[in-house]
Amino acid sequence: MKQTFAIGIGGAAGQGVATPGDILAKIFSRRGLHLNAYNAYQSIIRGGHTLLTIRTGSEKVTNMGDRIDLLIPLNQDTMDRHLQLLTAGAACIYNADTIKPGPAAEGVQLCPLPVSELADISRNKVAQNTLAMGAGLHMMGIGFPALEEVLREQFKKKGEAVVAENIGVARAGYDYAAAHFMSFPNPIPKTENRYAILSGNVAMAMGGAAAGVKFYCAYPMSPSTGVLHWMAAHARKAGIMVRQVEDEIGVINMTIGAAHAGVRAMCATSGGGFALMSEGLGMSAMIETPVVVINCQRAGPSTGVPTKTEQGDLWQMLGAAFGDYPRVIAAPLDIGDCFKLIPEIFNLADRFQCPGLVLCDLLLSEGRLSVHPNDLDFSPPIDRGELITTNGNGNGAPFAVGMNGDYKRYKITESGISPRAVPGVPGHIHTVATDEHMEDGVLISDEFTNPVKRRAMMEKRMRKVAGIEAAVPPPTLWGPRNADVTLIGWGSTKGVIEEACEILNEEGISANQLQIRWLVPLHGEAILEILKDSRHTIIVENNFSGQFARYLRSETSFVPDGHIRKYDGEPFMPHHVVEAVKEQLAGQRKLSVPMHEIMV
């Protein structure tokens, strides 16, 4: 079993859950530890219930895990909801003045803090949070200077008095714990590594900057808004034009307009906004102007559960916009991959002059993960494809100026790719059209059309599909060959399935994993080749109907032995997958829908 330590901090929105979360994340990352943070929250600005889980360890931590070691409830509601989930060895630190503990399992240490005795609560409204942090830090075996350093940074802007006060309160909590509470048996380790802590949204925004995105626009929509916030805050330093637009229809069309002028342009939204963008994607495909669109899925349909995660938009992405056209769809596997994927998909979109779609979800978008700084590479390969600009072609080489007017924007080629001149280039004047058109761009719909011309242009565009397939690697199998069970997942479930496989292997059930990153192109034959030796196959996905299972069957006729699905808004925890695998291997059922035990 992985040696990890998880802290749950819960309270009402507006009670200051985020600040201790950020402070603890910083302390762990500075100790050279990995961490994963997941915030279960509600669509409410003040009130409601939110539970932030921070899990840390010296090895890679890929998901929220199965257990909370330290619970810090900031209100009675949190105590009532979660104390019962703690098991032997765990502890709960709480404000003894305002919160009463309920029945706790044997071996759970209750740590009441006499908050009004330890701090002046009339002056410091969040004293209980700071005291609890100090107390918790001592119990984890971390020296006080680590907290002092971060508090100093956190409150620097508010002046020395505020800094001193907070450090004093934290110290009181630290000392009180030393005198009254039992420390955890294994102190939190320390390594020489250093990691960056970031959300998937920040990773995708930074990945965009690294890919050379010069235009980003969006309409705010949870859980994609974090991309807009990073872009807006860093726009001027990164040299990116960032706009907030009136709606997602405007967003996709503005993005296409900017891309058409010759810059890399990107936008992000969630399922509802993506639905509005659908017609625009068809335009991107028809006029062959590449854009990258991110969909951060949340629980649908309709407004759904805006603050909860789901993998329910796969078929929307597969079917977005009418008609047949080439597209690329990829689902990042973790937060580090959110960064890495963006330059990759831009290169494909640019080379094949088609839309590139990123299918992310709330779990990655708003979760946070430790990523090695070397994995945030701001010099990835940039391939603009066959682009003709006033500076030369997009890859820096000079272009031949054809002043004779024989330039054909949609020249029929073997690859289906036609050199793309942007407005402003002399000698390449042309009109692009969402109507079907001829090689030179002149509309053939409807007046000049005939079946031969239409077929030729359709085949030209669709020839790009073969090129895209050749440019994208097929998936590979992770873990032992010949395993008892093969777990198939896609996108964000990578980490939790990986850990479930580790647990199963430790328990004597050999398990391996096939995780899909490129959804289109899918490489169906390679997948069949991998799965033909599998003894028992189970598809794990965060939706009701088995959207990926249905897609895989439609592309390959493959039918798995079983399914594990979850559609309650919360992500899988490792034990959900482990227990479901066991019951399916025992022949108890073919479809498992694990119950989420944490009431958030």
Binding site: A196, V202, G212, M254, T431
Partner: protein, 299 residues
């Protein structure tokens, strides 16, 4: 648009502006007059054709870019202004003309119309307003008069029309004018002014549909249109007066420049990211020292 307008080194002719195909509009369509006036204006302003992008939505009048020898985009129904905004922000040295009809601009594209004006995007938006849906064979449009009988409202329109001039003034357009396709010289002059105006120029043009609109015909317009330029009391810097003029409809319908102000920054002019020239000429790479800071702030 003065900041971005570049001049051709040699004289242009009308033939230089002619597209690859001839318009397929009905004989007598008002749009012919608008096309001729736009081409004339570009010849007179001597803007190099490769620096002009004509962007349209969908509809009869939206086939416009195909009839021009400039860069062109025939986009989606109602979306031309959004596409044009993105394009202008990515390369503000281009002269951007947006063309379309009243259904495209005031109906399905109404949201983008309002927001493009408040943003003061630097482009000229020409609406060929025929008060009817033509390409879908004659349905009521957002500018159809009350009582007008169409295929979609055979018992007469019961909805009040939008007033494009008042709407543009209220939304913050910095150049607001109305032309008439049968008044060629006057229209050409308005188009030239609209192209040179720094900011959003809105030009609503009466462009009669000879096939489907039997109410608002050339015969109907001729005695009614009155040029604001002939009214010595009209002051196009006075917004309130322009608003009052915009409400005139009936026996007397003003055409000409209602309003212009040049003291508002264009959208691209207000964004420091563009201080070093058009985005399309920027180095795509984030400088290594800046990239390092982006990563360090997460540690």
């Amino acid at each position: 648009m003065a900041t971005g307008v570049q001049r051709a080194s040699q004289q242009l002719t009308m033939a230089d502006l002619k597209g690859k195909v001839d318009p397929d509009w009905c004989p007598g369509c008002g749009d012919f007059g608008v096309l001729a006036a736009v081409q004339k204006a570009l010849v007179e302003l001597r803007i190099p054709t490769h620096n002009v992008v004509t962007i349209s939505g969908i509809g009869c009048s939206s086939n416009f870019p195909g009839y021009m020898n400039t860069y062109g985009m025939h986009t989606l129904h109602g979306r031309a202004l959004a596409v044009a905004t993105g394009l202008k922000l990515a390369n503000h040295e281009l002269t951007v003309l947006v063309t379309g009809g009243d259904g495209d601009g005031f109906g399905i594209g109404g949201n983008h119309f309002v927001h493009s004006m408040r943003r003061n995007v630097d482009l000229l938006y020409i609406v060929m307003d025929n008060q009817i849906y033509g390409l879908t064979t004659g349905q009521t449009s957002p500018t159809s008069r009350v009582g007008m009988k169409t295929k979609s409202m055979p018992f007469g329109n019961i909805e009040a029309p939008v007033n494009p001039i008042s709407l543009a003034l209220a939304a913050g357009a910095t150049f607001v004018a109305r032309g008439y396709s049968a008044e060629q010289k006057h229209l050409t002059e308005l188009i030239k002014q609209g192209i040179e105006h720094p900011g959003f120029s809105f030009l609503d043009v009466f462009s009669p549909c000879v096939t489907y609109n039997h109410d608002n015909t050339y015969q109907w317009f001729r005695p009614r249109v009155k040029k604001l330029e002939d009214d010595s009391a009209h002051d196009p810097t006075n917004w309130m007066a322009a608003m009052e003029k915009s409400l005139l409809w009936g026996d007397e319908i003003p055409i000409g420049k209602f309003f212009e102000r040049t003291d508002v920054s264009t959208l691209h002019g207000a964004e420091p990211v563009l201080n070093d020239g058009p985005l399309v000429h920027h180095d795509p790479r984030v400088p290594p020292d800046v990239a390092r800071l982006f990563v360090e702030e997460l540690m």
